[in-house]
């Protein structure tokens, strides 16, 4: 609001507007995370925060083979991010530069699946890929060939992750690509650069903020993925989130689950902080 009398006393306009959100984040985000951390120091299989703290859960984790789950989660997140970058770049480029009046409608089309529960959409892939499903059933009845299905393999998990997280890569990337002033592209070209050189020297570095946000977002989400491995992978791989879930359900070991969650939080948090620190959010979001 018009701020004619911005005086020194009390909170600044900005802080006042930020206040409700900050309060909410404290009770809705910080406090729960602290609870998780607190739980991670409770003795195994306890249901409350009243017991004496211990490091047992962490000791258990490092003694166990949880590194396998961590490994899977990281590997698949990395693969997903890499694939998505390749898949989304041309689309982001098209959205920012080629599609013109079609791009809002395409954006919507890419958005719609976001609002349908992930489980259901993944189930659609089962129907498509399973033996006698849409794909193999069609092949069988039209061409009489019966190849093995690829369902319940790590590859399909990757497919599922790429599928689910695609919009999260696409949108920041589109933002990034549209941040590149067209004239810098033309200028580079005009100065003798080939298409590839324009891409490498100008296009890519200038759209980097958006691309990095996309990479980060998809990586973080993919590290937290669980449904893909369960539904499509038939648990041929067990990501860390699945480990956490088992600890909270069958194992009835909340503290162990909490400790695993804390480890995951540390990985994710560090990464997010590192990347976000490097970018000026105003430039990414505000530049129109």
């Amino acid at each position: 609001m018009a701020a004619p009398h911005e005086t020194g006393k009390g909170l600044s306009q900005g802080a006042r507007n930020a206040l409700p959100l900050m309060l909410f984040m404290i009770i809705g985000f910080a406090a729960p995370l602290l609870t998780v951390i607190a739980y991670s120091f409770m003795p195994p299989r306890s249901f409350g925060l009243t017991r004496a703290p211990t490091l047992d859960n962490y000791a258990d984790i490092f003694a166990s083979n949880s590194y396998i789950s961590f490994g899977w989660s990281m590997l698949f997140a990395a693969l997903t991010v890499a694939l998505l970058a390749l898949i989304c770049y041309p689309i982001a480029y098209g959205m920012a530069r080629l599609f013109g009046r079609w791009s809002p409608i395409l954006t919507l089309l890419f958005t719609i699946p976001l609002f349908v529960s992930e489980n259901v959409r993944l189930y659609g892939w089962i129907l498509f890929l399973i033996k006698n499903g849409v794909l193999l059933g069609t092949l069988k009845s039209w061409f009489g060939i019966e190849p093995e299905s690829i369902l319940f393999t790590p590859g399909v998990v990757l497919l599922g992750m790429v599928y689910v997280y695609l919009p999260f890569m696409l949108f920041p990337m589109t933002l990034g690509v549209s941040m590149v002033p067209n004239e810098t592209r033309e200028a580079a070209r005009d100065l003798g650069a080939s298409r590839w050189q324009v891409f490498r020297e100008v296009e890519l570095p200038l759209s980097m903020p958006g691309i990095m946000i996309g990479l980060l977002l998809t990586f973080v989400l993919a590290v937290g993925a669980i449904a893909e491995a369960k539904v499509l992978g038939g648990q041929t791989i067990i990501p860390i989130t699945h480990d956490i879930e088992i600890a909270f359900t069958y194992a009835q070991n909340w503290p162990l689950g909490a400790a695993l969650a804390v480890l995951l939080m540390i990985v994710v948090g560090t990464l997010v902080m590192l990347v976000l620190k490097r970018f000026d959010l105003d430039a990414i979001l505000g530049k129109r």
Partner: protein, 369 residues
Amino acid sequence: MPEGPNLLKVPKDCMSKRPPILQLKSLTKSFGTFNAVDGIDLDIAEGEFFTIVGPSGSGKTTLIRMLAGMEQASSGDIILSGTRINDLPANKRPTCMVFQSLALFPHRTVGENIEFPLKIKGIDPAQRKVRALALLDQLRLPPNYYGKSVLRCSGGERQRVALARALAFDPKILFFDEPLSAIDYKLRKTLEKELKDIHRETGKTFVYITHSLEEAMVMSDRIGVMRAGNLVQVGTPNEIYSSPKDKFVSEFMGDVNVIPVSMNGSRTITADTFDKTFTVATIPQAFSKGHLVIRPEFVRFVTEAKEAENVLEGKLYNEYALGSRIQYQVRVGENVFIVEKLRQHSSTLRRDQTVLIGWDAKDSILVTG
């Protein structure tokens, strides 16, 4: 025809003797059914400073984008040093454009920006740096700017970096699309002069778009006036100013007095809106209707009707001091005439005083358009 001053530019004949470096033959660019550039024929001589002016939307940008290779011509030819280059992409043409936004690479330093075309050509870093430093020097930027981020440069400095980058490419022709229009008045004046100096020093061909009449007048060897995709008139600044081809061109070149006139049976020129007959130096062939154009600096206050070949009586309505000159507005019936004088002429005129204004036949132009 007003007698123009003898300008100190390179003599015209000298210019036209040089071979044309760029020839446009019925060059056209259509967007859908609309012709943004509509069949332009033009020769630009090597080393010339050619300026394109024209109202917004007249196709100036589209024209030079075609020349630079950023837009594909719809029809016609672009011939560079005798070779048709229509199908050469921008990166293969020995031309370079300076954008209004400058299009500097914000993620690079001044030095890296300047070196960009050299890097693309595959020149090794040491040599690149030598050249970049030489260009910094040529453009009067201190050598320690080499490592500075372009984002930290002021408007004028950026301008120079953009120019240095273009020069590093060593193009045969440099295109400029309103490079100074976003810069404030004082700096613009300085940069105009610098640009002109660079043109002289490098001897390269410059094709320049501007909105500013003054800019065009100060810098150009020749000016082309565009309107709706066409070149309405091409000529030296002096020609354009003194012998505009039509009302549009004349009005485009600054304040002007324009009287709609018709040719009478008796071969006299009479005003359409008020009762007055004018003497003019020459009447174009087959003239019947058009405009009489008189530049305000050729109109003077007179005390008697016989002091000038054409005299009108009016009321002094307003007086503006525009820096070094003063404009007087004189109301003649429904029309307002502008009289311009240098400031040093003192006057004893008062508002609403009845005055006589006059001009000589040789100082007015009769245009058909």
